[in-house]
C-alpha cells in the first residue's frame, strides 16, 4: 500500500518536473501553476506515506500485549519515527527537497529551479523504491533515543537545502557557458546559493550538535572521529568557508558557486560514501 503510494508520488514529481520544463518554454502561466500543483500533491502524498509507515512501525513495536501507559506510548511514537535505516532516510531526504522548495524558497521555484527540485526528489525516491531494502526492521538499542528524530530531521533538512544550493550553483556555472535566456538570471542564482547555504548550514550545525549530545548519552563521547562525524565536519568546514568568503570577503558568483558544488559533493559522500565505503558507528544504515 505505502510503496504504491510512493510510486504514484514518484510519478507526480516526474510530471511536475516535466511541466516545469514545458513552462520554461511556454509563455502561458498555467503550465507553471500546474507543475506547482503536482509538486504539492506529491508532497502531500509522500507526507501521508511517511505517516503511514510511522503508524505501522509504531503498531509493530507496540505488539499484541497490554497497552502501556500514555507516557510510554509517546516515547514509543517518538522512537519509531521512520528515520532509522537507509531506506527511510532516503524517503525523508526526498521529502525534504520539495518541502524546502515549496515552503522556504517558493519565489524561486520556477523553470529550471522547479525542474531541479522535482527531479531531485523523484530521483531520490526512485532510488529508495527500486534499489534499497524497504523492510521495517526492529530498532537496535542505540537508536532508541528521543534524539533520533531531531537529529535525523535537522541533518536531512540541511542536506536538502545544500542540494538546492548545489542546483543553483550548477545552473550558475552552466549559465556562464551556454544559452543564457531561459535560465534564471545570475544575481538571482547567486542569492539563492547564499540563502540555501545559510539554511543548510543552520540545520547541519543543529544536526551535528544533536548528534553530539546523543553520542554523549549513548556512548559517553560527544565526538569520536567516526567517519560520518568527520565527513559532516568536513562539509561544515566547506560551507563555513563559503559563508566567510561571501560575508566578509564579498565573494560572489562563480567562486561561491564552485564552493556550493564542492560542499554538496561532500554532503553526498557523508551520506552515501561513508555508509558504503567507511565502516563506523553509523554503519547500521546499510
Amino acid at each position: 500500500m505505502i510503496s504504491s503510494v510512493l510510486g504514484v508520488v514518484t510519478l507526480a514529481y516526474l510530471l511536475a518536473g516535466l511541466l516545469f520544463l514545458v513552462a520554461a518554454f511556454s509563455p502561458s502561466p498555467r503550465c507553471r501553476s500546474l507543475a506547482g500543483g503536482f509538486l504539492w500533491a506529491g508532497l502531500a502524498g509522500q507526507t501521508l506515506a511517511i505517516l503511514g509507515r510511522w503508524t505501522q512501525s509504531y503498531l509493530g513495536a507496540l505488539g499484541p500485549g497490554p497497552s502501556p501507559a500514555l507516557l510510554e506510548k509517546i516515547r514509543l511514537v517518538v522512537h519509531q519515527a521512520p528515520l532509522s535505516n537507509f531506506y527511510e532516510s532516503l524517503v525523508f531526504f526526498s521529502w525534504c527537497v520539495p518541502f524546502l522548495g515549496l515552503v522556504a524558497f517558493r519565489p524561486y521555484l520556477q523553470n529550471y529551479l522547479g525542474i531541479l527540485v522535482a527531479w531531485l526528489a523523484c530521483l531520490l525516491l526512485a532510488y529508495a523504491s527500486l534499489g534499497v531494502d524497504s523492510a521495517i526492521r526492529p530498532l537496535m538499542p542505540a537508536l532508541k533515543s528521543n534524539w533520533l528524530l531531531v537529529h535525523v530531521v535537522t541533518c536531512f533538512l540541511g542536506y536538502a537545502a545544500f542540494g538546492l544550493g548545489f542546483g543553483a550553483g550548477a545552473l550558475y556555472l552552466w549559465q556562464g557557458r551556454r544559452f543564457r535566456s531561459r535560465l534564471p538570471d545570475l544575481p538571482l542564482l547567486d542569492r539563492l546559493i547564499y540563502q540555501t547555504t545559510t539554511v543548510g548550514f543552520l540545520f547541519l550545525t543543529l544536526g551535528i550538535l544533536t548528534g553530539a549530545v546523543w553520542a554523549e548519552t549513548a556512548w559517553g563521547r560527544y565526538w569520536s572521529w567516526d567517519p560520518k562525524e568527520t565527513w559532516s565536519l568536513i562539509t561544515w568546514f566547506i560551507y563555513a568557508t563559503l559563508l566567510h568568503a561571501r560575508l566578509v570577503k564579498g565573494w560572489q558568483g562563480r567562486r561561491t558557486a564552485w564552493l556550493a558544488v564542492a560542499g554538496f559533493l561532500a554532503v553526498l559522500f557523508t551520506y552515501f560514501g561513508v555508509s558504503f565505503l567507511l565502516p563506523g558507528l553509523h554503519s547500521y544504515l546499510t
Binding site: P141, S145, A218, G220, I238, A240, H244
Partner: protein
C-alpha cells in the same frame, strides 16, 4: 632595520595574520583536507600536531577576531537610531494628502501592521516615525565565534582533565577500579560497583537485541548502597564517574585441573584471565555451539566447543580446542593446567564505558550559545524604516518613506511594496 623596532612590526604582522579572513579560510580548508586524509588513510591524524596545530591556530584566529571586532560591533549596536540618521536613508516613496486630512494615525497603524510598533518623534517641525529591526545583528557572528571557542575550550578541558576507560563485569562480580584507556592501567573508581543482574531481550527474530540492561549496586565506603539500572542511552552517574552500557558478551564455565587440584572458572569470551592461585593465564578465543570437523570423508559434528589460548609455564601461548562431549581428550592437553568444558551458555558479562569529563558542560554551553548566535546572525537581518511627515503652508500633509536593508534585500523589497500600498493616500477612504 635596527633590532629595537623590529618586534612591533613582527607583532603587528602577526596580528594582521591572526585577524585576517584569508588565514581563516586557509585553516578551514586545511582542516577539511586533513580530515579527509584522516577518514581515508590515517585514522590517528586528529591527535597529531599536524591536526592540532591548525586547530590551535583557528582558536587563536577566532579569539583575535573577537578581540578586534567585538568592540566595534558593540559600538554599532549601542548607537541609537535617530531622526537625523533616518533623514539620511534613501527615499523609497512620496505621498501627499489633501488639505484637512490627518494621515498620522493611518501612518502609525500602517507601520505597526506591516513591521511592528514604530517610535515617534519630532525633528525641526517634522513628524518622524522610526522602525528598526535586527539592531543586534552585528553581535551575531561574535556570539557564534564565542560559542565555538567555548566548545574548543571544553574539548581541551576534556582532553587534559577527563578520564576515560572501560569496565567488564560478570553477574555477581564486584569492582572497585576500571581500565583506564589512556594509561592502560587499572584506576580506582572511588566506589564499589556490583553487577546484580544482566539481561538481554531479543526481538522475535531471536538475533537482534531489543534491549540490554545491567542492574547495579553502587556503594561508597561508609554510605548506604544505591541501586541503579544502566541501559544504552541511559547512563548512570555515581561519585565522580559516569557508567555507559557499552556492550556485552558471553562467558563459559571451564573446569581447570592441575594435579589433584580442581577448580571451576567462569571465563568471558575475549578476556585474558589469571587462573586463581596460579601463574598461568587463559583466554577464550571463540565458542562454537556445535563444532564441525572434517573427518576423512565426511564432516562430523563434535558438539559444543571452545577455542582457548593457554599461557602456561612454558612462556608462549598454546591454542587448544576443548570439547564438551569428549572429556577424555583432556589428557592430550599440554598442561600443567588442563581444561574441561562444563557449560557453554550460562551467562553474559556486561561491558561499561567509564568516563569523567569536566569539559562537557563547557561544550554544551557552547552548543546552547550557538542558537541565539545563529538567530542573530542569519534570522534577524537589519532593516531601518522611517516615515517623515511635514505640513505644507496650507496645512496639507506630505510624507516620505525612507528605508534601507542591504543584507535583507528580498524581505526589504516585499515590505516596501506593501508599505507603499498601505500608505498610498488614494487607496484609503
Amino acid at each position: 632595520m635596527s633590532a629595537s623596532d623590529s618586534p612591533p612590526t613582527l607583532l603587528a604582522s602577526l596580528w594582521e595574520l591572526l585577524t585576517s579572513i584569508r588565514f581563516t579560510i586557509f585553516l578551514l580548508l586545511a582542516l577539511a583536507l586533513e580530515s579527509i586524509i584522516g577518514t581515508l588513510r590515517y585514522q590517528g591524524i586528529y591527535y597529531t600536531p599536524w591536526f592540532l596545530a591548525p586547530v590551535m591556530a583557528l582558536t587563536l584566529n577566532l579569539l583575535a577576531c573577537l578581540v578586534k571586532g567585538l568592540p566595534r560591533a558593540m559600538r554599532r549596536v549601542l548607537q541609537p537610531f535617530t531622526g537625523e540618521q533616518a533623514l539620511a536613508l534613501p527615499e523609497r516613496g512620496r505621498f501627499a494628502w489633501p488639505a484637512g486630512a490627518d494621515p498620522r494615525p493611518m501612518v502609525a497603524a500602517a507601520l505597526r501592521q506591516e513591521l511592528g510598533r514604530p517610535r515617534q518623534g519630532q525633528l525641526d517641525g517634522r513628524e518622524i516615525y522610526l522602525y528598526e529591526r535586527g539592531r543586534l545583528r552585528p553581535l551575531g557572528p561574535y556570539v557564534v565565534h564565542l560559542a565555538l571557542l567555548l566548545i574548543l575550550l571544553g574539548a581541551l578541558i576534556g582532553k587534559y582533565w577527563g578520564v576515560e576507560g572501560s569496565l567488564m563485569l560478570l553477574r555477581g562480580e564486584t569492582a572497585t577500579d576500571f581500565q583506564n584507556i589512556q594509561t592502560g592501567k587499572p584506576q580506582p573508581l572511588g566506589f564499589q560497583v556490583r553487577l546484580d543482574n544482566f539481561q538481554v531481550q531479543y526481538y522475535q527474530d531471536g538475533r537482534t537485541p531489543r534491549e540490554f540492561r545491567s542492574d547495579l549496586t553502587l556503594l561508597r565506603p561508609g554510605e548506604k548502597p544505591e541501586t541503579a539500572v544502566c541501559r544504552v542511552n541511559d547512563p548512570v552517574t555515581f561519585g565522580r564517574f559516569t557508567l555507559y552500557q557499552a556492550s556485552y558478551g558471553r562467558s563459559i564455565l571451564l573446569q581447570v585441573k592441575n594435579g589433584e587440584n580442581t577448580q571451576v572458572l567462569e571465563a568471558p569470551v575475549g578476556r585474558t584471565m589469571q587462573i586463581p592461585g596460579r601463574e598461568s593465564r587463559v583466554k577464550v578465543l571463540e565458542v562454537e555451539e556445535n563444532l564441525q570437523m572434517p573427518m576423512q570423508t565426511e564432516m562430523r559434528a563434535l558438539g559444543p566447543a571452545a577455542k582457548i589460548a593457554y599461557l602456561g609455564g612454558s612462556g608462549h601461548a598454546q591454542v587448544i580446542w576443548v570439547l564438551k562431549n569428549y572429556p577424555q581428550m583432556v589428557e592430550r592437553q599440554p598442561g600443567p593446567d588442563r581444561f574441561t568444558l562444563l557449560n557453554l551458555s550460562p551467562d553474559y558479562f556486561s561491558v561499561f564505558q567509564v568516563k569523567r569529563d569536566p569539559g562537557v558542560w563547557w561544550v554544551y554551553s557552547g552548543f546552547i550559545l550557538l542558537l541565539p548566535g545563529f538567530f542573530l546572525a542569519f534570522c534577524r537581518l537589519p532593516q531601518r524604516w522611517a516615515v517623515v511627515l511635514q505640513q505644507g503652508k496650507k496645512g496639507q500633509w506630505e510624507g516620505r518613506l525612507l528605508g534601507a536593508g542591504p543584507r535583507a534585500r528580498e524581505s526589504f523589497a516585499a515590505h516596501q511594496e506593501r508599505l507603499l500600498a498601505r500608505l498610498d493616500p488614494g487607496a484609503n477612504p
